[in-house]
Amino acid sequence: MSAGSSLKLALAAEGGSPEAARPGRTRARRPWGAMIAGAVFLIIVLGTVLAPLIAPYEPNQQNLRDMLEPPSGTHWFGTDVLGYDIFTRVLHGGGPPLLVGVSAVLVAMIIGVIAGIAAGSRGGWLDNLLGRIADIQMSIPGLILALLVLVLFGTNLQNVIIVIAIESWPLHFRVVRSHVQSVSQHTYVEASRLAGMGWRRTMIRHIAPSALPLLAVTGTVNFAGAVLTEASLSYLGMGVQPPTADWGVMISDGQTQLGAAWWISVFPGSALLALLLSTQVIGDYLADRFSVASD
């Protein structure tokens, strides 16, 4: 399924007014969910960064005598068909998803936000042009595009990042554009214009801040989509190349063994799940935090 198209969920800002006050039914609770999620996220990031130090084995150390060992004291998460230690590789395997997720989202957001602001505030031909480009982008099935780009330019992490960023900028573009448009109709933006603010400063002062909650959501949705797309590409043999440890590759490596040596897929799968779940909880929390109702 198109993890790629999950990027396309235009959380369409139309309609939802970001400055609507939230009901005060929950008042100043401690955000336990977000705190736990933050801790999980931190553990994953730290685990990945410190993997060379804390992993019990080398990630690419094969042991053909210890193939398909179930989880045990020596191999906490068992071993796979090459005798790789799954625990070690789960620690290392977060690298590509995190790298792809963070960089692709950054690139996509930069493109999407700039284009969205330009289109939403300038309107006219620029809006039309950017809008059509985004349409074109969105109507090319994501995996097809990935297939073509990766064949054309080679299968490496950098190209995977570029492909995912290209695929996901319309998400931010659409959300930011319609947000800018709807906020621009607000009288306080007119007031700012009358006060003599240039459009760029008006943008920074009045529109950008109110877009933060939306971007917190689109950013995390995009992150989840990017990570899943990375895994899907690995699954289709177009992502990270073995023997580099990568959760997506590990999951698909173990797929035929799911009924027997389940640990090959299930542990990296759980790690992926924990990462995505925690970022989404954090995203929801940030969206609440940035919204005007929170002060």
Binding site: L11, A21, R132, I136, S139, Q255
Partner: protein
């Protein structure tokens, strides 16, 4: 100060309404959500999108490799490859090929599949029912579940009931679809033998792929719906509706939930568009012969007529989906009408 055109006040029209005709009743109850301009600009934008997507895919397919090379048998010599290339015109500059392709597109002489010599569109159209069946079922299931859970989580009075279903859905969303699909197969088909593992046939074959797609649609729908409902709840018109004496349930449904549907519909529309061509992995895992797989194979074998016909159909599907979405959003949010 200057003053011009002083006019007498118009004599007020008699306010008493004349007897209402059926037409009056209809006129005041129904109102077209869009103008012609809106529809025309949308259709034009759709055509541009299709053209752009097709051009990009065409140029990229041609740039990624000579189709003749893939068409030739494994044992073919270079001369044979060149001969195939000449026959199909693959030896010409890529831009010339592009212009020829565009001309053929406009004149309706769309090239046939390189392998089966069938009209490319009929190759793709043969798959459309399968794809529609799967994506519509999946998206419908996902949307319904997502809407129900979103509504439930936004309105339930119990904290656990608000949190637990949402978190469960988010777990689903965070599982790669191939893992989810395989786990479903493992349990429901292999272990419990309740459903067939794969392929197309009876409704039983549809269950697992549709659930896999739905698992991807539902969480996003639920989250968005929940948060828009929460934002809508505090709008002042809700107080008006309550003050009218409407039942709380009516208020929640008609004045909160329906108003909050706009962005959700937009989201669902996007997903239909994305899934039409993007359900490749689900199709692969469940051996479902849909457009997505066909397209990936066509790209891999450089069967560019089929690949392009697929892209065109998916684009059209996407454009139609977003048109429908815009219409629905225009109904829900009259201010967005152009």
């Amino acid at each position: 100060m200057v003053l011009q055109h002083p006019a007498p006040p118009a004599t007020a029209a008699p306010p008493t309404p004349s007897p209402l005709t059926r037409r009056d009743v209809l006129r005041t109850t129904l109102r077209s959500p869009v103008t012609l301009r809106f529809v025309v600009t949308r259709v034009l934008a759709g055509i541009v999108a299709v053209w752009g997507a097709v051009s990009i895919v065409f140029l990229m397919i041609m740039a990624t490799g000579n189709p003749a090379q893939v068409m030739a048998s494994e044992e073919a010599t270079q001369e044979e490859i060149d001969r195939i290339a000449r026959l199909y015109g693959f030896d010409r500059p890529i831009f010339v090929q592009y212009l020829l392709f565009l001309r053929n597109l406009v004149t309706g002489e769309f090239p046939n599949s390189l392998y089966t010599d069938e009209p490319a569109f009929s190759v793709v159209l043969a798959r459309v029912p399968a794809t529609l069946l799967l994506s519509v079922t999946g998206v419908a299931l996902g949307s319904v579940v997502g809407l129900l859970v979103g509504y439930w989580c936004a309105t339930s009075r119990f904290r656990l009931a608000r949190v637990v279903p949402m978190k469960l859905l988010m777990v689903l969303q965070s599982t790669p679809s191939f893992l989810l699909g395989l786990l479903l197969i493992l349990f429901f088909a292999v272990t419990w033998k309740l459903l067939p593992t794969s392929g197309m046939g009876s409704w039983k074959n549809l269950v697992m792929p549709a659930v896999t797609l739905a698992a991807y649609v539902a969480p996003a729908v639920a989250r968005l719906f929940r948060s828009t409902i929460r934002e809508m709840e505090v709008e002042e018109h809700v107080a008006t509706a309550t003050a009218k004496g409407l039942r709380p349930r009516t208020v929640r449904r008609r004045h909160i939930a329906v108003n909050a549907l706009g962005p959700v519909i937009a989201l669902i529309g996007m997903q239909v568009g994305g899934i039409l061509g993007g359900a490749v992995i689900t199709e692969q895992v469940f051996a479902w012969p849909g457009v997505g797989q066909l397209l990936v194979n066509a790209v891999n074998t450089r069967d560019f007529p089929v690949a392009l016909a697929g892209v065109i159909l998916i684009c059209v599907g996407f454009v139609v989906a977003s048109l429908v979405v815009d219409l629905v959003v225009a109904i829900i949010n009259p201010r967005s009408r152009a």
